[in-house]
Symmetry: D2
Subunit: 337 residues, 4 copies
């Protein structure tokens, strides 16, 4: 449940409500926006019986949250959350652009990719150090050395680093090298990993599971946020359907649905959705037009020799062109790049 305060409410009225909640053993989550002030109620709501919160000074109304997720809900923070990573604000007017190779393959490769995507306008360097591969015999990534190479390349080019962690005992080390951690689609319901990333407080990009509903996705975000880490950005990357023309089916409607039900920023990953480089740009533009807060795209200096996902990685020139066109679309809809 959230307590929506009147526009005219003052600090004492807010404190009074919070005091009542805490006296009952409930948690209070204050969200002060430009337009609305709401106090989220956390805990066993039965303890509120008998209290007439709606009658307290400054309170406009009490609104139940009909979802299982609370902290991730729109009601808890009606003006939407932003997540700030190394100075860059994700979820604001400026789109967030993340790019880089599928996997870190060598120092030269990741540095060349970093220079290329930086020049094109990206703010984050992505790259896989630990690659979750369907088969145990496929290239599994450079592992810890991959994180180090990412950091080096990012520092050399003024980018921030985002990379995937596949197990909770990697969080500490990854956190040394990365500005943001990614939870992959296959791990969206690895609840141990979610809780631990929650406790770490490190900003996290939470990919939607390959066949997860939006509700399940937001419940997964709730696992992270319930540990006190609100630095959660969602990422739609395509869902599994019967159509095989693309690797997955990009669900652009996830963007408006998430905006409506949640307060979290949401990016689009058109690379894993498309599975083929030539489809990436249309999907990226569609995602921006649908209202996404940014893009995370696979870019490789020479996709033909990539050790993983060769078919879907863009060349640096193609990424540059995509960024320009994404910027044009964003501008047409009142956002910037």
């Amino acid at each position: 449940m959230v307590i929506v305060m009147k526009k005219s409410c003052n600090r004492q009225e807010i404190d009074a409500v919070i005091a009542v909640l805490e006296r009952c053993g409930m948690g209070a989550n204050l969200s002060t926006g430009a337009q609305t002030t709401v106090i989220g109620v956390l805990g066993d709501k039965t303890k509120l019986e008998g209290l007439n919160l709606e009658l307290m000074d400054g309170v406009e109304k009490c609104v139940p949250i009909m979802h299982s997720y609370k902290l991730a809900s729109h009601e808890m923070c009606p003006e939407g959350r932003t997540v700030t990573v190394g100075g860059e604000v994700i979820g604001g007017k400026k789109l967030c652009m993340m790019a880089g190779p599928c996997a870190v393959e060598s120092e030269e490769q990741v540095l060349e990719a970093a220079q290329g995507v930086r020049a094109a306008g990206a703010g984050f360097l992505r790259g896989g150090a630990y690659k979750p591969r369907t088969s145990p015999y496929a290239f599994q990534g450079m592992e810890d050395e991959g994180y180090r190479l990412l950091r080096r390349a990012a520092d050399a080019t003024g980018l921030k680093v985002i990379s995937e962690v596949v197990s909770h005992d990697q969080i500490d080390l990854a956190g040394k090298y990365c500005d943001m951690l990614q939870v992959g689609a296959r791990n969206m319901q690895n609840f141990r990993l979610l809780r631990e990333i929650g406790k770490s407080g490190i900003p996290v990009l939470l990919k939607r599971g390959i066949a997860s509903t939006v509700e399940e996705w937001l419940d997964a975000a709730e696992y992270i946020m319930s540990e006190g880490n609100y630095n959660v950005v969602l990422c739609e990357r395509g869902i599994r359907t019967f159509e095989t023309a693309t690797r997955n089916t990009l669900d652009v409607s996830a963007v408006p649905v998430v905006r409506e039900r949640s307060s979290l920023p949401v990016l689009i990953d058109p690379s894993h959705a498309a599975g083929k480089a030539r489809y990436v740009e249309p999907l990226a533009l569609a995602g921006i037009a649908a209202g996404a807060d940014g893009l995370i795209i696979e870019v490789h200096p020479n996709p033909k020799v990539a050790m993983s996902d060769a078919a879907q990685q863009l060349t640096i020139p193609d990424y540059g062109r995509l960024v320009q066109r994404a910027g044009a679309v964003a501008q047409a809809l009142g956002r910037t790049l």
Copy 2:
């Protein structure tokens, strides 16, 4: 198979190739574009054995078409087809905007809708006269009278009419009132209907089946085109998946996939994809950004009292706003409204 002619080819060389094909009992389908001239070969290709078409003057190469569909294929008309309906070109630089109520409910309703969408910039009035309803007890539409009311409202406002036919024996009458006929998702594999619409030559909007692959969709278009009717426009309207947040899942990647495999124009129907009015605009913009040739959207003067699909129809003001924003996105990508 298509025979790709050299850029420098002349008329006699083209005629010579066609003559050889016809002598073998094959059909020849000439497609002359600004950049390429190709001659499509139709019929039993085994009859070509022994001929060395690639050695003929003016011939650059012979390219097999790997799909079951030929006339609908990209190879058959590499520069893409346009379909002209009542003077309006679908598939060109200018987007095609179709709008109107889900069902024709009364003369006043459809006229008010027509005036509203016309003012907002639409070129086509849509409305259902025969409504395919999941339940036999639901409102089935005004039937033939619905077609007449559409025509009247369109004539009064300078719009063209598009409406659905659900059975092949409706084609003649519908063709009297409509400029374009629609084949609905449930009828995408009603092969009798497809062939008869093919024979009629009337322009047709072919909706993708609710769980049809792009390949099946293009094969369905081939049924129509094989009867000599090339006036086929495709329409992506969402596919069935596990996600229930939206009525269907809009598959924006259908746009680049269709562009690659086919020569036909493709529109987006964000209304049936979304199922909820508030999601329609983001989906419409996503479709335009992905490269679609236009939109077909349900608009009702007063959605609250609509007799079908009330939850997804837009008000006239909301449609106007959508058209403006779609125009901005289109312009950002080099197209017009």
Copy 3:
């Protein structure tokens, strides 16, 4: 809504209720079973306001039907319907076995198939005369001649004929040769076809659409039954999912779900579900074990040379073995073959 009569009710009490309904302009649908007598109420239920049907003699209770389908519902006929075709009862203790080639290809082929399946224990000969093919260039079937050949082969072997109709204007002719008509998956929502088959009264096997929910399937059955034709048998044939190891995914849970919501018998088509001959038997046995009322299976004298669906048709010996094992499973669960 259905009116459930007391076990002790007599004929006058039943007639009295029916009279009241008819006086109000409602339809009454009497279903007398061994255990229960129910009177289904059809029409605009608002006309019943003010009447106290539950107070009438012999009435136990009034139960609303929560589905859009009424005649097809379980409540309307709680003991389940049977459909009798040429003396054979479908939906009773004895399983119904239908078998034959995908398509009628020649007189010899269909006769040999008929002899083979008859010897193995089948009661119905299936075969396609009009084949709905995804591509317009594929073999479309022998058409009307196909119906005639089926009839001849069936008469020679004491089988009943079932074959698909793809268009409503085929019903009359097909009805001359067939004992039962089939509505294919692609036509499950060809509402014109459903209504016309309803009016014909001819027994019909209604296949589930490739991505239709059970609710939509039962609504389709309602189209047929609303025209007065209760001779409807359902057929589960696999639904479309992401898995490509089989042509479709057999949804055996459709059997218990249909039993619960509907009164109609339900068969399983393991051939189209499997797509590969070697998977057909396990799926057939699974369907029987789940409680299906029978099987419809593609059997060809020489599948290697079949003109359609060669990969999934069984040889006659393999069909014989399947029938034996199906019989063993059926017996284990109290049914017969």
Copy 4:
């Protein structure tokens, strides 16, 4: 690749082949069955160039394995593997029956369940100690105490214990109390967990992911087996589709497909597939009829008060009835209970 030995081969010939492989730095995996002897080749096959393995004494032929998974493949062990847990053989003629509550809730509850399922004929007691819940606020299980209570109840009733582990650092402790570990659907691609369970050597039940293909599932099994643990049993529990009448859609065709591509035993979990207690039995019987090696079913002494999945757990009497009917079906197909 596998080297298939002649039926007449002797020990020296086998050893000679293995010696050649090892000299080349390859691994050899010997599988000796009643009918066939095959030697699986593991490692970089390019090292085999130049050798003429097919010419060696005793070798009949070399067969490439076309799948990414090798150890899990059918070719590697054509007669199928069995997994023996505490004396019980899974994958043999006798079906394996596992049952128990969704979650361990108290000592009384799990003991009562154990007694009930034992009396009905089960060999394994299942119960969740660590429950993967979609929402962080739902009951998460009794955790380590849950494992202890399972062990106690199992020892008191002569059952073996199977329970889920959700994180690799639980394996040691769980292994103290459980005879078999379960990897849940959400963790099917938790590769760290798979590898560690592989290293532990503890028998594992690997559930299919909610939207995993059979290929991905077998690749996941390969992760476990590549660490030397061949005690892997698969479990089909329904896949995610558009149909909402059941919680998931049981894919019975997974059974014949797995038999064909893999050597591993496969069980059916009809409880999670159905989502509703009244559908569990038909699905269980269907699974047995399709050829599954056993069942794992949720049974609770009083489902109405269950703390999780109340809707799908069976009462003890209903489980008893299901076992009897499963036994009848099994017997009809030449297996035992």
